[in-house]
Symmetry: C2
Subunit: 262 residues, 2 copies
């Protein structure tokens, strides 16, 4: 199952959600791939790798210059692999538009070979879950992720501007479904950085649940400093502080995601 984790609103918790869901499922024994499709390379740094232009990355995957087995790297979390990004990815916005099947490049790279590193002696073993961390825009990198995905996971920060942007995003997803990826569905909306000491968070949550009653996950992600600290250690929160509120929330979200995935 391939999930695109996306929202063009910046700073809503896309990277944090992609890393911590991926890590939680990997620690539960599933084979998981994290695809960093953002030139900022935050997912790459967040799992403890240095984004380096010299190493093949998701960009080479998109350009067809490397296959998945040649790009993915293991991480400190057992069963979690990553297709890293680097600042060079910013070049995709200029190169990709001129290529054949430009919206399908990531889809073809992921579908053709849900590969593993050479160490898996018995050949290619597929990934149970793939999470694609998208940049904060509706550009060709995000379009590639939406075309490659089976379902979309939408983090929404419990604040006013994030709520505003949700309609724009749903329109874009509808357009992609119509033109490029008909089976694409919305896995769900997850409300992030919720601080119930403020009225604002409660208001935004109520508004999101009212507009999207069946799409919004029951689990909300609280604002929790350990989630903001974890990237500086290059660790998912489940390895930094497994019993903090942030780790618990992502564990609950992973359970909800898996039970809804069928």
């Amino acid at each position: 199952m391939i999930y695109a984790v996306t929202n063009q609103k910046g700073g809503v918790g896309k990277t944090t959600t992609a890393i911590n869901l991926a890590a939680t499922l990997a620690q539960a024994g599933e084979r998981v791939l994290l695809v960093d499709a953002d030139p900022q390379s935050n997912s790459t740094a967040g799992v403890g790798l240095r984004p380096v232009d010299a190493v093949p990355t998701t960009l080479e995957l998109l350009l067809g210059e490397a296959d998945l087995a040649g790009v993915i790297l293991p991480t400190r979390v057992e069963n979690l692999f990553i297709s890293p990004a680097s600042p060079d990815m910013a070049g995709a916005a200029v190169i990709l538009p001129q290529m054949e099947r430009r919206e399908f490049r990531l889809r073809e790279a992921l579908r053709d070979a849900p590969a593993t590193p050479a160490s898996s002696a018995d050949g290619v073993e597929p990934f149970a879950y793939v999470f694609i961390d998208c940049p904060p825009s509706l550009d060709l990198l995000t379009v590639n992720a939406l075309v490659a995905a089976d379902a979309v996971l939408i983090p929404v920060q419990a604040e006013y501007y994030a709520l505003e942007g949700l309609i724009q995003l749903l329109n874009t997803i509808e357009a992609i479904r119509h033109r490029l990826n008909p089976p694409l569905r919305i896995a769900g909306v997850v409300i992030t950085m919720v601080d119930y000491r403020t009225n604002l968070a409660k208001q935004v949550e109520d508004e999101v649940r009212a507009h999207f009653p069946t799409l919004t996950y029951r689990t909300v992600i609280p604002r929790n400093i350990r989630l903001a600290e974890a990237p500086s250690f290059g660790l998912p929160v489940s390895l930094l502080d497994p019993h903090c509120a942030g780790a618990d929330a992502y564990f609950d979200l992973a359970k909800e995601l898996v039970s809804g995935a069928s």
Copy 2:
């Protein structure tokens, strides 16, 4: 003086900084223009206007289909005008690359006619300050803002990923200075959403000041719920709650910006 408010990292406080600095200076009696160059149209919504595709926006300015006087609208704040955005602006990424002088379009629109609405009977009166609110990317909209600007204002959230992205941004600014806008300077880096109850904020602030001692403003913007609530009222914080910590901080920042502008 034209400022580009930019950082490709999402959710670091670009819109909040652009609106609240612009409003503070307008309330002090200066003629100020806020240019919303982000398809998310958060600056437009944040000053109480509905982003509507039917009205001429910053997009028409970029395409040369309207001049500044035909696009700008007054806001609820006296002396503050806005060149609004709308979701249609997302089309700029496809249309602009094919146009002549594509990086200079905003510069020409702002420089050629620092206009005012028709109400100013005595003809064109220039704006003392222009703030361009940029999207969270280093795309052609942001490049247009960096080419149009005299100086760059860089909000950096007091968190790990925002610190990571600063080097990438400075490299881009250097490239723009070199190729397209030699007099472009960095006005300053402003640290936002600082919560001194956490070690993280202090660590990031120390790191930013250590790397950029002369570029970092003394004023920091604290995490303050009124700043997050103000957009839902369509008001700058100085009109919603003039004595809150957020309003005070932007007042201090405005003073520092003005004294450094010379």
